[in-house]
Amino acid sequence: MDALPQFDLVRPRTLGELVAARAAHDDSRLIGGGTDLMVNIRRGIVAPPVLIDINGVAELRGIKAGAQELEIGAAATLTEVAAHPDVAKHYPVVAQAAAHIAGPTHRNMGTVGGNLALDTRCIFYNQSEWWRDANHHCLKTTGDICHVAPKSRGVCFATFSGDLAPALLTLDAEIDVVGPSGRRTMPLSDLYIGYARQDEPVTETRGDGKYFLALRAGEFIAAVRTKNTIGLRSAYDKIRIRRSIEYPVTGVAVALRRDGDKLADLRVAFTGTNPRPVRLAGTAALCGGALDDGVLAGLDALVRDQIMAMKTTFTPGHYRRRVAGVLARRLVQRLFAD
């Protein structure tokens, strides 16, 4: 294996050229900042013969951040999102999540589309080619076993670690997806299909750590969009071993609304735990009353029920699952009190 295999670089100037290039090269991959993809190429995990650079496509670069609606192009950089005053003002959870990603140089290069479609990660997967070979590969590449759960019956548990996804999930964001058959809009939550259920087969709508995005052949994310909700307070926080250049051990986004003394709306989403970013189900039942110990206990119960952190990182799953609950509770309390 070469340090960097041969590939052709295609640099479209318009969205039309990009779609055409994608259609012309079946095995191509889109490249934004390359902060995820280039590492995987260097490790021999993927070897696309053609890379399509999205950075020259003006239609993908904009950030429209108004008081009513937010729309971010897939090629906008994480630094641009983190530093945008109107994103920080009206959609703080998004700006905070962007500012928490890796280190400054990664954020200067990394794009919104790349972070939303970030490859899932696992200690048995994000290794060099000789390492994976010595370990007999794994389900996510060419092997036939999941080293995280050897009895997983063909299910991969690699973990989703993007920071933007949980932030945008709490805002009920939708994405524009462009492909050979045109443009379609879908809820962001439908993009992530890494359910990794051992009791059901992997399908187009129910996947695992390997098949974790509901994108059809040739499709890519063009933009992400959300509407503002009046009175919604939101924030993002995550646990890291090191405070920069680090994937989330556990990341939590919270958005809530307060109506007088009552919790009127509560949305919580996680990253770094499951093969998909998890928007916590069942939070509506916690709303309508005061934010008391019962509500917090209910929140913790939902987290324990839905967060399934496996041994995909050096940090044990038990810890990631438990601190997910702690971070969520703290953010809820802080936002409610603000």
């Binding site: 080293h147 646990i239 920069s244 250049i245 050096f314 702690v326």
Partner: protein, 462 residues
């Protein structure tokens, strides 16, 4: 192998110990081969030793500073295993960190459990050699050789094989030569590392360069100075002993107009052309250990540096995240030849200790290293760095270059136990496994809560 010997031998060189039992074991593993690392032979054992001292002090209700002070060496001395200790600034290091950290006023009064976070203070000491006194090559060569070339234009080029690995040794060599000759630093250039040109050097390791190569540079500069004084004496028709060297001016008595440096250089080169002088440095036999104690050649040095440290931490008892709020570190480097370099080296030592103590880990899966990259092997970033206050203690070593000793390694080892001692102060839990990552802290807190819960049940509690 050397590390095992060092770890045992050097136990004697920090406190006054008369009886030491030390057992070292070599274990054959299939993990990657290891090599010397900053603080080589002191770090792990100092972590164990200073942790035990702290535990003992807590159990007996003693002030950890008082425990150290009751066990100080009485320098100058030879330790029980015949290690030579001439300068010993540990008492002053203890005083400095105790005072600057406000130890006695603040210990036990830091907030506990506020917002789930408890704060604590911890302290520890460490030491290190300024190069091994026994030569690594047994050929009879000096420990260090430096050459200085002086040319017609008055340019001074110092030639040394000592590689500057970021510790600033090239600057120290230039400073040493400029100091002896009384010249501005701008007159001196240093060439290092090119083995076609420079004399062989034993290497930049075990903190030997400032001490040994620095002494050799001083020797070379003194030899050059003697040549220049002889030339000035010739020109001024005086005896060499009458020549006063003021760097840019050489004169025979205060009334003499004298010669400029360049005039002296012209005179000196008149018959010989370009001048090259050599300077050497060898350690003294007293530092090599005697026959009294078997193995006393190990761990011997011409001068030990000493360090004391206080670490203040916050422990988040709900997430297990440990934050170092501040570090006070005092380092006895004999004499700071360059205060900025010393501060930088001491801060770097603390920082590197922080990596080992808090985030860096070599983890394996069936013999395959899991963390063999800069993402997963978590070297701390500037975001992780606490404020580090450095106190420089100058004990003026009788053999050191201008009294200097090492500054680049000795402050690493104390960080690890000072951190875990601070965590013990904050939450009452002692961590013997490093790094103290949030999940380890969390697991220990959870285990304690479980044991307490069981105890309460047995006692008829809920």
């Amino acid at each position: 192998m050397v590390t095992i010997l060092y770890a045992g031998s050097m136990l004697y060189a920090i406190y006054d110990l008369n009886n030491v039992k030390y057992l070292g074991k070599r274990v054959l593993t299939n993990t990657p081969p290891c090599g010397a690392f900053r603080g080589h032979g002191t770090v792990d054992i100092r972590f164990a030793f200073e942790s035990l001292l702290d535990e003992m002090a807590r159990a007996l209700g003693l002030d950890p500073f008082a425990v150290r002070r009751a066990n100080l060496l009485n320098a100058p001395t030879f330790t029980q295993n015949d290690l030579m200790v001439n300068s010993y600034g540990l008492p002053e290091c203890l005083d400095w960190v105790e005072r600057e950290s406000g130890w006695h006023a603040r210990l036990g009064k830091l907030p506990k459990g506020k917002g789930g976070v408890s704060k604590g203070l911890g302290m520890a000491c460490s030491h290190y050699i300024s190069g091994a006194s026994k030569p690594v090559n047994w050929t009879g060569e000096p420990h260090a050789t430096v050459k200085i070339k002086l040319d017609f234009d008055g340019s001074i080029v110092v030639l040394s094989g000592a590689a500057d690995i970021g510790q600033g040794s090239t600057t120290i060599l230039a400073q040493s030569v400029a100091e002896v000759l009384g010249l501005d630093l701008a007159r001196v250039r240093v060439v290092t590392g090119d083995s076609e040109v420079v004399p062989k050097d034993n290497g930049s390791y075990s903190s030997r360069v400032t001490f040994m190569v620095g002494n050799a540079a001083i020797d070379a500069a003194q030899n050059l100075k003697a040549v220049l004084i002889a030339a000035a004496a010739r020109k001024l028709e005086a005896k060499p002993g009458e020549i006063e060297c003021l760097g840019e001016l050489y004169r025979a008595g205060a009334q003499d107009k004298g010669l400029t440096f360049n005039e002296v250089v012209t005179e000196a080169l008149k018959d010989t052309g370009t001048i090259t002088v050599t300077g050497n440095y060898s350690t003294i036999p007293e530092s090599h250990g005697g026959k009294k104690y078997r193995g006393s050649a190990i761990g011997g040095t011409m001068g030990y540096s000493y360090s004391a440290q206080v670490v203040e931490v916050s422990v988040d008892e709900e997430t297990g995240v440990v934050t170092v709020d501040k570090v006070w570190v005092a380092h006895d480097c004999g004499k700071a030849l360059n205060r900025l370099t010393v501060e930088g080296q001491v801060q770097g030592s603390v920082w590197m200790g922080m990596g080992q103590a808090m985030s860096e880990e070599a983890a394996y899966h069936e013999g395959l290293m899991l963390t063999a990259n800069m993402l997963d092997y978590r070297v701390p970033t500037i975001q992780d760095s606490p404020p580090i206050e450095v106190g420089i203690v100058e004990s003026i070593d009788p053999h050191g270059p201008f009294g200097a000793k090492e500054a680049g390694e000795g402050s690493l080892a104390a960080f690890l136990p000072a951190l875990t001692n601070a965590i013990a102060d904050a939450v009452g839990l002692r961590f013997n496994d490093l790094p103290v990552t949030p999940d380890r802290v969390f697991a220990a807190l959870e285990k304690r809560a479980r044991i307490k819960g069981n105890g309460a049940k047995q006692n008829g509690g809920p």
